[in-house]
Symmetry: C2
Subunit: 395 residues, 2 copies
């Protein structure tokens, strides 16, 4: 049965008609879905080094230089990561495969990333105490959209039973905060009454587990944010008012995937597309240096626009890619003062870099102790380059 456009959407229309002034916006629910299986650095390195030994025997036979092995200590020193949770364990530690095995599903079955995102979405709805039918927009905002069409957001809409509409958007590791930026303004302007920003980050399937520089970086996680219009004068105790959001981008190839529907068109034989060269690539050192500069400037400038300094913000939920990078961004933002994990919580040590999900997980796990009137800054940065910020006030 095809819904009419006014079904499940009556509140949104009513709100828009009654007012030409902007709505206030509350973050009323957060959902996080972390897969159960965790892989430690030690386990990952054991598998990696077995592959390196095998590969080096092949390389020796060809007269090539051997590849270096890795170590758990190198990974932790370089990134702060000790472990990561993975959506699908099977295949990842197999030295002959080094990729998760995620069976293809029939078109009529729920897609893998829609399922992953819907789990987080359901938790956000429960957290907010909101009925799915009261939501009139799902934004699937992630760095790893599963396909071109139909949009994964629409499949999540169907799975959750939300009304209105949905779409997919993508902006690397800033996707979730960019989705919040868009959702915030859709609610502010009255276009939609309740927006669910869903971020399914199933990254391990796109990772080159044979690349020493990047194989350890990513883990899988899904998150969801439920935002809604907040009547003038109303305060929702224990929830955040979204004060403002910002988005900044400047092109860089230093984090890049060339996986593309165009790949086949570049080949002599268009029937098979090689995976090699079409997985995640990262120039880690350049990213560290450039994003540290851009990130701390963004934080200082965005807060200043709202009469804040880093000192007046109780908590920073930063992108969870690299512990040293975050420490540096904070130190630069705070004028040289070191800031601890109570001020800027870390989840990457046990989850790895979960792309756009990371900062949301950090916020989900570290906000219930905040007092009314305290401010928090959600700030994600990454591929693009892109940076997204959202200033929150605990009500």
């Amino acid at each position: 049965m095809l819904r009419r456009i006014d079904e499940g959407d009556a509140l949104g229309i009513a709100l828009k008609e009654e007012s030409k002034t902007m709505n206030r916006v509350s973050l009323s629910g957060i959902g996080v879905e972390i897969p159960e299986t965790s892989i430690s650095n030690k386990e990952l390195v054991e598998s990696f080094n077995i592959w390196v030994e095998q590969e080096n025997r092949r390389r020796a036979a060809k007269g090539l230089e051997p590849l270096p092995g890795s170590s758990a200590e190198f990974i932790e020193h370089a990134s702060g990561i000790k472990a990561r949770h993975v959506h699908t364990f099977e295949g990842i530690l197999d030295p002959d495969r080094m990729a998760p095995f995620i069976p293809a599903r029939d078109d009529d079955d729920l897609s893998v990333t829609a399922e992953f995102g819907a789990k987080a979405g359901r938790k956000a709805l429960e957290d907010a105490g909101v009925d799915p039918a009261e939501v009139d927009m799902v934004i699937c905002a992630g760095s790893h959209l599963q396909r071109l069409y139909p949009a994964i957001g629409i499949e999540i809409q169907k799975e959750l039973g939300t009304g209105g509409a949905a779409f997919d958007m993508s902006l690397g590791c800033s996707s979730a905060v960019a989705g919040l930026h868009i959702g915030f303004h859709l609610v502010r302007s009255g276009a939609h009454r309740r927006v669910l920003v869903v971020t399914p980050e199933l990254i391990t399937a796109h990772l080159n587990l044979r690349d020493r520089q990047t194989h350890f970086i990513f883990g899988d996680a899904a998150t969801a944010l439920l935002i809604e219009a907040l009547p003038q004068g109303e305060e929702k105790a224990g929830r955040f008012e979204v004060v403002d959001t910002r988005s900044w981008t400047q092109f860089s190839n230093n984090i890049r995937s060339n996986f593309s529907y165009l790949n086949r068109a570049a080949l002599e034989d268009t029937s098979m597309v090689p995976s090699e060269g079409n997985l995640i690539k990262q120039q880690g050192n350049k990213v560290f240096k450039e994003v540290t500069v851009a990130g701390h400037r963004f934080i200082v400038d965005f807060l200043a626009e709202h009469g804040h300094t880093p000192e007046t913000v109780r908590r920073f939920w930063l992108h969870q890619a690299n512990a040293r990078m975050n420490a540096m961004i904070l130190k630069l933002s705070f004028g040289g003062v070191e800031v601890g994990h109570d001020r800027a919580p870390m989840v990457l040590d046990r989850l790895g870099n979960t792309a756009a999900a990371g900062a949301i997980v950090a916020m989900a796990e570290n906000h219930k102790d905040m007092k009314a009137g305290e401010f928090g800054l959600l700030c994600a940065y990454g591929a693009g380059y892109s940076i997204g910020g959202a200033l929150m006030r605990m009500m």
Copy 2:
């Protein structure tokens, strides 16, 4: 050099600070980029039938039923399409290839779809007489996003020299109108002063030119829409005010691509991914029937919300997929009355289905004769299912 967040974005911030009331929005520029090379039904069918003959010799040797050939008349009868323009001619009519040959580019070179989109974007800026630096958001909204990251929108931002930020979004053939929906509300709420919605549709690279049901459907085109805040009381002669936008989605697999970064994870050998099964699939008859119902309801309901009936709208720029489907949608909307191409212009006859670009091309080519105070409806529908509408008033 890394820009700070306030660079090239001062107008947007100023506007947001000064007002809590919604901005009016004008569509100030439209850009269309149509590739030069056109392929007629006759040319396409000649190539297709040569392939069918070759294939049937192979099939006969295996004792399989022969495949049916096609004809220019069948294509025109089924769709109304007489020809399509293609981004890259080489390879498409080669019976041994049947795919465009689009060489891979170095990461440091401008990407194929960013280049295509930027051409349309530049035309929209010229049409509006707006300097690129005055634009503070680029939305790359298309059914065929080239890659996961960095966002194509950011590369277009760099190529055009716009400020602020960018992101990618996707919603099948409704992508451009959905991008307009988002951009409209970003400008309404004062988040951004000027938004450029860029839609590069390079679809022929994802088409199965060996599939009789779909090989003729698509052509390539890129479009761009420049929208901006309109001061209260101001009228811009010859431009549209965007009165309102709407988005509607309901899940369907009837138009689907399974091309995905997850494909390799489902394989025994993850090093090569087959193209077969991962190109555009469409259940044409189901789409025709279901989208005709949903589309005409959307039109009637959306117009009714604004006190309009189809009769009070001067022009309909509909999604350009199928001439008979559009005629049926209009007939149902107008209560059984047939509506001609002056009321609802057709460009699919010479361009094919250019996905999200089609309705924008129809609008670009058919609005300069409209009188002040006349209304037009932009309405796109397709994969998702998704429908997007924008009600325009000529100023």
